[in-house]
Amino acid sequence: MIAEPCKGVEHRLQAYLDRALTPEEVSLIEVHLGECQYCRQRYHFEAQLRTTVKTVCCGDPVPGDLVDRVRLAIRQSA
């Protein structure tokens, strides 16, 4: 049985991570996260997941001569 405040946090968690909530909503969530281990663990997981996805998806090396090749393409099309 999940408590109502936990449902509320689950519902708003992504918006919270997006910093898309009002200051009042943020403070309600932060108070709840401070007292509820169930939500806190899940919040940490969701936050870490975003960081991990971003790190992995930005981890590809950009070709070192990309800009040079773009410049060449620009000159050739001129």
């Binding site: 898309a20 992995v56 773009v70 620009i74 099309s77």
Partner: protein
């Protein structure tokens, strides 16, 4: 600094001054090449296509450079062009956006699966069930419309509003696609996660 004053200023530019402006524009625009490449790579899933898209973006950008308003968001302006180039490319390959699956899971279903129902456990152990390949593969499996929103906001660091401008849809549409895209990414991650954690070779 009105738009009118700006355009009057431009009309009055001599050819050499205009060439100078264009060169400055080109340099500033090229400063965003890495960011555009990463977005292109995550949209297309191919390094070769990503580079072609970046080149095409710059060719289009330099043809249209006079329509860029100095002082506005150049990264978002370039990303809009990139996204259009990507759509044209996708149309050529006739990729179709997949249909939307149902969206009724708990926010935490990935967490629940990775933790195997155990209440305690270090975050690192959960995250280590997601390999880099699994994450990249999972993102590719997110249907196009939703992946675009995730790539722009979660990977490209654009705001909801910037993503809405780039995708030319209302901000509410971006938020809804982002929500569904994240859910679908998690669903894909759940299917690619290392099972149980006891025997990684079973993945």
């Amino acid at each position: 600094m009105s738009i009118l004053a700006d355009s009057v200023d431009r009309v009055a530019r001599t050819p050499s001054a205009e060439a100078h402006d264009r060169a400055l524009f080109e340099e500033e625009a090229l400063g965003h090449a890495d960011q555009l490449y990463r977005i292109a790579l995550r949209l297309s899933g191919s390094t070769q296509t990503a580079e072609e898209l970046v080149q095409e973006t710059y060719l289009r950008a330099l043809r249209a450079w006079r329509s860029y308003r100095p002082g506005t968001n150049l990264a978002a302006w370039l990303a809009t062009i990139l996204r259009n180039a990507y759509l044209d490319e996708a149309r050529r390959r006739s990729r179709r956006p997949a249909t939307e699956p149902l969206d009724d899971e708990s926010e935490y279903f990935l967490y629940d699966q990775l933790s195997g129902g155990r209440l305690e456990g270090p975050q690192e152990a959960l995250m280590s069930k997601l390999t880099n390949d699994a994450i990249l593969q999972s993102l590719e499996e997110v249907p196009e419309h939703f992946r675009e929103a995730v790539v722009l906001v979660d990977i490209g660091d654009f705001s909801y509003q910037e993503a809405a401008d780039i995708l030319d849809v209302p901000i509410g549409t971006v938020m809804s696609r982002l929500h569904r895209g994240r859910r679908q990414l998690k669903r894909a991650l759940a299917s690619h996660a290392i099972d149980g954690g006891e025997d990684p070779k079973r993945a």
